[in-house]
Subunit: 353 residues, 3 copies
């Protein structure tokens, strides 16, 4: 397959600078793109490649300043990353058409007689579909997936290999869950007893994943003690994340890998949470909050669109200042010692007078 700069500009709704007839046959990272390849620059860190790349076509942001001649034909769009995403989507679609999409029911698989399957589903070998499970149209269930009793899955959802969904959980339209993730395991609820033992609190709630949620690999989302742990529409969770019982995550919030959210905490919509962040339980995080990687959130965030950093976290910019001085604490200590010596000297002189 070959595409011209003009064809690509039409797909991404961009403006061509340079030869509109130049053609590409593959896609590559900017550092590796050679003759005949299409690439993109979205992150300023990669602008240095602009003048040296051998790519034939480059998608760039419309406001990127080009000060010297460049080899590739440029296609300017409002947002190069989104433009590229759109192109990849089309490309991927064509590719999957060529390769043949997964369809049908592979054997051996276990489908309980009370389960209801939609049209055009794929059920991979060694998948287990429990009692009363309802599966919508065009759902793809890769091999080794487990759907417990009474799970409901809406149209166009995808479960990659070895996903486990416990009984009674609900999965929205177009939800994607990557391999090894666990949805609906018991919340961590144990009541301490007088003799030092713990009594398990049965976890009778469930998990609701709303439409367009995407969940990475080996992430765990616990079922609610009562009611539901809820992941709202459009939320994106990365790999190895822990979501505890009764948590709610608002629409279009994204969370990077290895972050953990403790029980009953409510995160607002349009938040951006870095990797390895920890949040205590029973707090509220306002809409639009941005939390830097490795932060520890120990209390509610009430103001919208705040940026936070550190453990315990506070205002992002202030925390950077504190961190900078932390590095110089030995120097601070030395300055205080010097002051103390001088002041002691004054004192001694004063005595003598």
């Amino acid at each position: 397959m070959q595409f011209s700069a003009l064809q690509i500009a039409t797909i991404v709704n961009g403006k061509v600078e340079g030869d509109p007839d130049v053609r590409v046959s593959n896609i590559a990272k900017i550092e590796e793109a050679g003759e005949g390849a299409l690439s993109f620059i979205a992150n300023p860190k990669y602008e240095e490649h602009l003048y040296s790349t051998q790519a034939s076509i480059l998608i760039i942001n419309e406001n990127l300043q080009v000060e010297r001649p460049v080899k590739p034909t440029l296609i300017r769009v409002a947002d190069a990353y989104s433009g590229f995403a759109l192109l990849m989507e089309k490309y991927n679609y064509i590719l999957s058409r060529q390769k043949g999409l997964k369809k049908g029911i592979q054997q051996p698989s276990y489908i309980s007689t009370s389960a209801i399957l939609g049209e055009d589903v794929y059920i991979g070998a060694f998948s287990y579909i429990g009692e009363n499970v309802i599966i919508g149209n065009n759902v793809k269930i890769y091999p080794g997936t487990y759907l417990g009793d009474n799970v409901v899955v809406n149209d166009d959802a995808i479960f990659y290999a070895g996903v486990k969904v416990y009984h009674d959980c609900l999965v929205g339209h177009r939800v994607v869950i990557h391999a090894g993730s666990v949805i609906g395991s018991d919340g961590f609820g144990f009541a301490p007893q007088a003799d030092g033992n713990y009594k398990k609190v049965p976890q009778i709630g469930n998990v609701i994943l709303e439409d367009d949620v995407e969940i990475g690999a080996n992430t765990t989302i616990d079922r609610a003690t009562m009611g539901s742990t809820i992941i709202r529409k459009g939320v994106k969770l990365d790999n190895l994340i822990q979501i505890a019982h009764n948590v709610e995550i608002g629409e279009n919030t994204v969370i990077a890998a290895q972050t953990g959210v403790s029980g009953s905490t409510k995160i607002g919509r349009n938040c951006v949470v870095g990797g390895q962040v920890g949040m205590v339980g029973h707090i509220q995080i306002a809409d639009g909050t941005r939390i830097n990687a490795q932060s520890g959130i120990s209390k509610s965030v009430n103001e919208q669109n705040a940026a936070l950093n550190g453990t315990p976290a506070f205002d992002y910019k202030s925390s950077l200042k504190s961190q900078a001085i932390f590095r110089n604490l030995p120097e601070l200590d030395r300055r205080i010692k010097e002051l103390e010596a001088l002041v002691r000297q004054f004192m001694a002189e004063k005595e003598r007078l």
Copy 2:
């Protein structure tokens, strides 16, 4: 099913305040409980709901002060969380009776001819039972579980979907392991060689999970290099926890999600460890130690019942003071600069004299 306040008070051994004949047909969180629902208040954060809730019955701590009239019938118990746990357990038991418990051997499954199975076991489809495995009575093995050769499982244990237990590991009575957890993977032992390569140290030990241990989803517990990694009676581990080779965790210790314990470290009994804590290897943690979330434990804790926080961790209360000053480091720096300027001025004036 409907239960009266009197019936519930009898189950939880509580004292009724209000109409003993009011009846409930469901259980709900305090924020969501309506007419006909039973709920509870254990955490002081939720006491604000006491006067506004529409719940019909409320389980509360016996010492909770009620200062104005409330809608629900109250049931006072020594510990509301434990009382509620007890009630849920009964409720869950009735529910599971109604739904029908999992039993029998689903096909296809793989059970080696040398394996020995107890009575009333459930073995889900796609489960693998290795050579010489011994399984006790009433054990439940959900679909896709893997038990390697020579694994021994005692009565009433539960393995949720996709648990993997390597060869030679021992599982106690009533142990519960949630989906995707891995027990007995190789310890991380590699000897550095002169040429920069690493030589793997074979890991010939095993893992022992004693009675009443519960393990969350996608947690990993490595086998010992030699001897055993041991999780003692009643220990509760949350999701995504890492336990390295030759670790020992004492009775009734609980550890929250995403914490990691390095090789050969011994944790005492009745400890409470927060989430995302890290511990270095080859140290001892005394009985009753409490460790705050995200702390880093870099040396042994010798004193019992200590509370620790921070990286590296020290006394909890002191660490809060240091953290408070950390936030104000820029202000501290400014004060020192001011002192320096004043002292310089004194010095200059003294010269002039």
Copy 3:
């Protein structure tokens, strides 16, 4: 099986001190080793056991000073840990010979008709081998493993139970992957849209695991957006690690459990990274870098063989000094207040003059 000190010294190329004819029949940790057991001391923390151990044979470092008589026959080698590793390897080899190695294809398993299998492979029950998969000789695939379409596996690789490898990934010779790990899941790439939604960026790259890589349990390695996420020859990754899309890890680098590396970051060779470390995306880490546990790496490390600690990380030794002063911040604050009081007093006196 019994071995004499002389036989063992021959295997590990060591020097015997004591009775060369003493025999052992088992291997044990130094704390637990009794009569008839072989053990070793590599870590100075365990040297205290030298004079009290009941072991019959002990492998020690050649420069370990022995100042009093000891019970066991000693075998001195250049590096006790490597010597012990070598011995365990031989022992393990003999053991596995006795037990019978896993071989052949267990049923039920799913092997696509287009897959090509090498000689002497083991394919466990419930394993799934996709279209066009190529598997080398002596490869071991434990039960419940998933290899997506077009995966290529070289000779002598081992996949433990429930490993998931997505389509198009490449696995080198002698690679070992522990249970539950996921290789080739989608990178976390979503382009924010004007309306607050996110558009998924298709991830069309793959993952390459070069020869002699070992990966722990429940670790996740995402496929590249384009090109490859690359784990170079001899890299060792522990459990529950997150490697994002387009990351590269250099030869013989080792990373401890629960560490996360963000997208497009390049780590050099022979690095040693502790547990629970986080690295931001798009940075370079020089060869030989050593990073302490729980550190946060926020920018590139250009100097080779640096040692780093803290969040954000800086020079290891300096960071220890800052951490020490952090503990005493309340005291520092008190000293500043004292200085301020004294200086105020001077000022007042000066006014009065």
